[in-house]
């Protein structure tokens, strides 16, 4: 017994802990309940049976600015808005210079003409961590069964240049089109690019 515990302690010292969760493609999407900018409670489970897109957002980030300044993100939200539930999630902590209060977010959404089904506040960062959201933007597509089918970048042009949107291959649009056609998602995992999510 003593032997076991001593050697086990050695083992515990030698083996560091694993880090970070990840809602990798093929895994069940972690459940969550968040509050949107209007104070309404939003539960992921309510959308079982529908496709859900999660978009990690921080308007202070130049990569996010690239996709809103060019109108790219709003266009996607409108184009697919009828078929999917598009939820924009903000995990920026209240201590970050990029943190925006819900009212300020609301104003900004109107200014840029964004149309997500909900804009969710996650300033404690719990949901972001559970999903392993790393960058803004970082995109997840969840199928009607609650399984993550896409996890990664918005497109294949890793830059802050709005011009690149025209020539980029949009992974989220590709995944949603394939799902609509009843096909499996070909590109299910890519490396997200952008600013770090400003976790607490």
């Amino acid at each position: 017994m003593k032997t076991a515990s001593l050697v086990a302690t050695l083992a515990a010292v030698a083996i560091p802990l694993a880090a970070h969760a990840n809602a990798g493609a093929g895994h069940a999407a972690p459940a969550f309940t968040l509050t949107d900018i209007h104070g309404k409670t939003v539960n992921l489970a309510d959308f079982r049976g529908r496709t859900v897109v999660l978009e990690w957002n921080n308007f202070g980030c130049p990569f996010v600015e690239k996709h809103y300044g060019s109108g790219n993100m709003q266009a996607l939200q409108k184009k697919y808005g009828a078929d999917v539930v598009w939820l924009t999630v903000n995990s920026t902590s209240t201590g970050s210079p990029d943190y925006m209060k819900p009212a300020a977010v609301d104003t900004h959404l109107h200014e840029v003409g964004a149309a997500p089904a909900g804009y969710l506040m996650d300033d404690p960062g719990s949901v972001g961590r559970a999903y392993g959201a790393k960058t803004t933007p970082h995109m997840f597509v969840i199928d009607p069964k609650g399984v993550v089918v896409y996890n990664g970048a918005i497109d294949d042009k890793r830059s802050t240049n709005p011009e690149d949107v025209k020539t980029a291959r949009n992974y989220v649009a590709a995944a949603l089109d394939e799902m609509k056609a009843g096909k499996p998602v070909t590109t299910a995992t890519t490396a997200p690019y952008g600013c770090s999510v400003h976790y607490r």
Binding site: M1, T3, A4, S5, L6, V7, A8, T9, A11, A12, A14, I15, P16, L17, A18, A19, H20, A21, N22, G24, G26, A28, P30, A31, F32, T33, L34, T35, G39, G60, C61, P62, S96, D98, P102, M121, D122, D123, P124, G125, S126, R129, A130, G132, K134, T135, R158, S159, T160, T189, A191, P192, Y193, G194, C195, S196, V197, H198, Y199, R200
Partner: protein
Amino acid sequence: MVTTEHVEAELISEKASAQPGQPTLVGLKLRMADQWHTYWKNPGDSGLPTRIKWELPEGWKAGEILWPFPKPLPVGPLMNYGYEDEVVLLAPLTPPAGAPSGAATIKARAEWLVCKDVCIPEKGQLELTLPVSPSPPADNPRTQAYIERARNMWPVEAKGWKYESAIVGKSLVVRLVPPEGAAPPKNAHFFPDQELLIEPAAPEKVTREGRAMRIEMKLADPPPANLQAVSGVAVSENGWPGMDRKAIAVQARVSASLAPAAGSIGSAAGNAAGGSIGIALAFAFMGGVLLNLMPCVFPVLGIKVMGFVEHAHGDARAMRVQGAMFFAGAVISFLALAGLMLVLRASGAQLGWGFQLQSPVVVVLLGLLFFVLALNLVGVFEWGAFAQSMTSNLTVRGRYADAFLSGVLATVVATPCTAPFMGAAVGFTLTQSAPLAMAVFGVLGVGMALPVFLLALFPQLLRRLPRPGVWMETFKQILAFPLFATVAWLTWVLGAQSGNDSVLALLGGLVIVALAAWMYGRWRHSPGMWRPVLAVLLGAAGVAVAWPTPYGPGGPGIVSKAGDLPWEAWSPEKVRELNGQGKAVFVDFTAAWCVTCQVNKRVALHNAEVVKQFAARGVVPLIADWTRQDPRITETLSSLGRNAVPVYAFYLPGDATPHLLPEVLTPAIVLDELSRINGNGATAVTQR
């Protein structure tokens, strides 16, 4: 020079001039504001590598950027790879062979992302005038210091080093094997060239494997498909032997598994890691000695010693040989068992030590074996012509074989006792290389066999015992009771595995076996074959009755009594879900056959104060029961770096990375752990 808000950017040249047809180094020097950083070619979890687009005179060619090794830059729970303060990104530029002499204008459009708390994409149009001249170029004194700094940070090819790599469970392992006679540095950090290969934020585990250095990293989830090779940079702050550089370039093919490291045990004794291997071996030896006192081993050895007592006054040499045979039998069967397990594991079976006891069939057979041994000891029957193991009327050769078989038997009966007590220790061993694991098992066997061997070697010790007589018979009968106790324990284990009906079947089987043993002993003087035949038939009937159904009705499920923790069943999804809801989660990885687990539960987890604090802090207790095989548990354990129970994992609200508690718990340890959450974590997510 271009000056932006956070960066001063400049094009610099290594030489004062360029020679036609000869490459010369030109690069981008970025001077970042305090605490701001730019990125390496693999930026890590976020960020963007700096880009240079050259606009060169006619016929000039530009090579790839020579990236200095990066620095890990943690950002909250994320990890970036990049540079702070200053970085010089050089690239070889080659003017054409027929380049005319005179000033050449080199232009570069550079784009970089510079970040601190926020990120700013910046760019600059840079220009440098470099004379072209056929004479050998002179150094450029103004830039030499910068160029030298960058050059020293380039990863170099390390002569004579070999690199191996494999995916082990959820980890990527890269092994760096130094040339003969060189020792790797104590520590290093590996930066992979490829993105989405590993979780950059997960700590890298660096260990010594013989002469080699082993770096274990957490694979990205999902792992890259069809991974053929990995490449990257290994950085050691103390440099590498024979090189005045901190970074070496590593390229390795990814194979299905890693061969044992060369010289894993032999040369390890002399190096730093040798300490812990030495300690592991010392503990294995002590553990082996302690096994002699285990309820399942002691009776068997006791009988062997009894046999010695009868001979203690006889031929000393013959006894020594017998002792040696016993020793060999025990050590060889320990090694054989360990080898079998390693082979099964290598062929992909998800096994940990104690795996035998996950099979109800093995538990039933062991229960029957111990029961029969106990009946024999208590005197219900004598073995008779079957096996005269304890009697002395054997030939000398027969006695040697008997001694060897006693060693084997001692090992066989010892395994169910080793598993519950030594599971964690042996589990650690299994994470090491195969030769080391075998060494630990061998030493365990040596420790177990040594006391009996010493008695055989020095029979004068035995002469202190009373002369053979009636006391021996009494002692033998007393030894039956630890065996009965072991049967009781195995029955309970079976109950946890296959339910109440299996327990009834086993008990029924035991009754029939007892009847067979009694008949065999009662009419021992009766001639004729009816007696052994009937005994065997009845014995077989007993085994058949006791044989467990292949798929029992499942374990008892989760049973919580008042005053216990309100356990719920574990699943990876459940942990993720609770975690996502911002709840703190405590997972008990346990098994019925794990004695340490049961002791911890009684002593620490069901302590009144602990139960109260679980409730007060809203911690959800989950139980992951490994009593039966469960690949999901085996997989989760392996991702936590373990392969035996107990393991206690504590997840703070919203933190998907658990903290592991020690294997042996006290209420204080658990309370201390719980106090890491502030108040009620249950509402962490549903804010505002």
